[in-house]
Symmetry: C2
Subunit: 145 residues, 2 copies
DNA sequence: GACGTGCTTGCATTTTTATTCGCCAACATG
DNA sequence: CATGTTGGCGAATAAAAATGCAAGCACGTC
């Protein structure tokens, strides 16, 4: 179980059902076979940018941030990690920011980038060759991390 | 100092400067001449629907909810309080929801309502006569509270 | 004026969340 | 193989936030 997988599980959980506390998440994840402590959840939540909203009925619920419309250029800080994978890079972004990052890269592509494919919090960057990966990775980290 | 005034001050404070903790708010309000304890801040925050966002830089900041585009009809729970004032009603809503409530009321006006005027978190409802206030108030509370 | 009701608040405390610390595993380097 | 170095984790703890409770106040009613 990588942190990334667990974070996906957390996102799934909070969108599927109301989650009031981090302890709820510990329990919910356990039911899905993921063992973690509250401390780790707290760190995951920080990474994901999740927050605890007060609801009109007086209860609370963890929620994912709404995606603000972002003009390309103000995407600094959106990228969390960049990892090479043969002639590709897997760029992990904050939740919902992947397409903003991908658009920014499309509009100003680093040398060696052939194309991008954006999911929700991941951008797959296709490279001309695996040789470029370190250089491109460095550039992406410089521009968007 | 009414709760309403204090809540306005809180909103002003968190939009003007980064606020990391409720204690920051206690201090900030004190500088503006408002004395409160953390307990009250916590309750105000709950009423206002504010939440503490993790920022990309690892810090936190209290923020007001973004206003979702709301189709009239799903405005239940937006209203916090309704108070009569001569031939008017002052309808306090969750932050940014006032116009949604006003639109909903315009589209389906309770008997006796002449018109509405929406601010940010307040709707002023103009009545045909002060006589109607209790009836209209009850209806608004039933529909939107 | 005495009494009741409904709000609001602070205090004290509990509950929840964030962080510090040390440990372990994976990986690189000599 | 020894020796960093890095990242991630849990346990414990510190810090922050939520809440039960009782007191105070404004208002209305008898």
């Amino acid at each position: 179980m990588t942190p990334r997988q667990r974070e996906r599980a957390i996102l799934a959980l909070i969108t599927e059902q109301p989650v009031e506390t981090q302890q709820d998440l510990v329990v919910g994840l356990e039911e899905r076979g993921v063992e973690v402590t509250q401390a780790t959840i707290s760190r995951d939540i920080k990474r994901l940018g999740l927050f605890k909203r007060p609801l009109p009925d007086g209860r609370y619920r963890y929620a994912a941030p709404e995606v603000p419309k972002t003009s390309p250029g103000e995407v600094g800080g959106f990228v969390i990690a960049v990892e090479p994978a043969s002639a590709m890079l897997v760029v992990k972004t904050r939740v919902g920011r992947a397409s903003a990052v991908a658009i920014a890269m499309d509009e100003n592509p680093p040398a060696g980038v052939v194309g991008t494919l954006a999911g929700d919090d991941t951008v797959l960057v296709l490279l001309a060759s695996a040789q470029d990966s370190q250089k491109v990775r460095a550039e992406i980290e410089r521009s968007y991390l």
